[in-house]
Symmetry: C3
Subunit: 262 residues, 3 copies
């Protein structure tokens, strides 16, 4: 299987697809910035009276439950249903699933009521959704999960599952991939996972094969992270460098992709 | 007509006027930082039980509908009415008007119920408020608008209209101005327009002629942007440089103002 | 009295305690980043259906009323009561108390209904809570307050009071401290006080003597600020440098602690 990283990056830069985010307060600024850096056009809109209109003109919907509350859940569901109706792909990031019952149940409710195309989370979040016993501390994972969990989730919900960590696992239930790119610096800043969500969503907007668009997003984000980490090991400076490096991705960048697809 | 850029900048740095923001989640941090960098004092307060009190001690009210929802609209209206009563000037930034009916109608409702002094938006937003047929993609403009749209809005609502873009147009219905400063880098970060709103609002706090304070804000922000763009073409680094350069504005900076007033 | 700055910093880096923030929109991103830079694990959760669960797995609760609204106040109270029940320490940052009645009364309500361990604010905020006549402009203090106000608040509410300013005062009603570290650059960025709250909270998570953990947090934050200010006097760059320098704190850093304990 060939992944057309650079061709799809160029499609993003050319089409500037609208990425509708319903995401958490913590990362809204950096998520918008990283999306623009990649070449796409972010919009944040969470109010029930407008989410259906907004998602109807968007190329992808990215739902992230990082600072959820009841009115936002209503909007996530309404936006997701309209996305399904309009064939707009949906990415769900179940931030903190497993940490509180509220988050776990909200993530499951979204998965049940909406056709999600890509489900991306860290090990703890994904294991808790897969029904595995796991201890989650806040929004950081203290566990690890592998290809089996990804495959189980992919099959259960009929989607592409992405488990992030030192190594990342992607599965659509039929094919699986392991991505070894990335940097330990991602754990030194807030919102790395959320920004990755924006990047994957941007690729979903131009590539409707969610298995390959998930890999494209993962690899793009992690390669930029590697470059940024080569510039600095300090967290404040790294955050700035990461946004810079996303904008610098080019054809050569992808020569360092470390992906195994089975 | 003479614009006293530097004298008014010094007034801001001296008086540190309180700029009451009711703005969107995405930009709150950078908007507060850019306001402080200029020399003013930002406060964010959006709860109905306190907005009237807060605006009563403020020197200007800046309303931005970038991530609006019903409770926030109620607060925007209450704050705006109290601002009118207390003769506190009001700036409205109709982020995303034209993208959803909810945003367009909210902006119009605010314009109808509140005396707004400065209305600032990109071409798509302003055209949608002027009743022109226009296609808006999220919060980014994909169209252009000129002095006629600015003048029409200025006359319709009795305010100073500012249309941002490659060239900016300002009109109060009697006078008009064209500003050619700025940098393409503003389109590479999120919230440039929102931060510009904070800067214009800060000048409104010390100069009650809204036509000239709008020009002062525009020029100050865009000159700082030019300086920042001369330091870096990378978006993460540019954001940092922009906040730095706002703090460095001085008398000499304004020699590069490229403004035509008619 | 000996303060074990470095030993407690190492405890944070080792245990990575979960710091439950219910804080304002403006600073969520930088607060999360500074907490991670120190070595702790931040989580932001504000919804009533989950705050009790979240605080139950947290090591400390940090309540900040910077952009409060009614639903958030309900959650602050619920989280605080559960924290008390579970013996999780509580830090309250009464941002803007004195500026509006809503903020002053909310801070007092929290102090009345919850056992707060550390109350930290600027002079205007703390004086308004101490019942002193004071004029507060937004969220910036325009007044000064000294050890008497700190001691009065400490005694009234049975907590450690921290008043920040050019010099900082700490009192638990029996002992008091004066901290002279810091930099004027803190007033050139938004959220310095809020980020300080995150740092103090992180020390509270590993040191249950709130008087010394407050001093540890203050000194750590202010020493990092001094280092950052030595690198740059520009506000955008300073913000980045501050996050960097927090991550670089080491045993030697604390040799510059300028603390007088009585």
């Amino acid at each position: 299987m060939t992944i057309n990283y650079y061709a799809d990056l160029l499609k993003i830069r050319d089409a500037r697809p609208l990425v509708h985010h319903i995401t958490n307060y913590v990362v809204m600024n950096v998520s918008a910035n990283i999306t623009i850096s990649l070449g796409a056009s972010p919009v944040m809109a969470h109010a029930l009276p407008e989410v259906e209109d907004m998602v109807s003109i968007a190329s992808v919907l990215y739902i992230n439950i990082g600072t959820l509350s009841d009115p936002w859940i209503d909007s996530m569901l309404a936006a997701g249903k309209m996305a399904n109706k309009k064939h707009v792909p949906v990415l769900l990031d179940p931030v903190g699933a497993g940490a509180t019952k509220y988050r776990t149940e909200t993530a499951k409710k979204i998965l049940k009521e909406i056709k999600v195309d890509v489900l991306k989370g860290n090990a703890g979040e994904m294991q808790s959704l897969a029904g595995e016993k796991v201890k989650v501390k806040g929004v950081d994972s203290t566990t690890s999960a592998g290809p089996d969990t990804a495959e189980a989730l992919a099959k259960e919900y009929g989607l592409t599952a992405v488990i992030t960590g030192r190594e990342d696992y992607v599965s659509n239930g039929r094919q699986s991939a392991q991505v070894k790119n990335g940097t330990e610096m991602f754990s030194r800043i807030t919102g790395a996972g959320c920004m990755l969500g924006s990047i994957i969503a941007s690729f979903m907007a131009v590539n409707n094969d969610s298995f390959s668009s998930a890999i494209e997003g993962l690899v793009s984000f992690e390669l930029a992270g590697e470059k940024a980490a080569a510039r600095t090991k300090l967290p404040g400076s790294f955050m700035t460098a990461l946004i810079d490096e996303i904008s610098l991705l080019n054809q050569d960048s992808y020569k360092l992709a470390d992906v195994m697809i089975q």
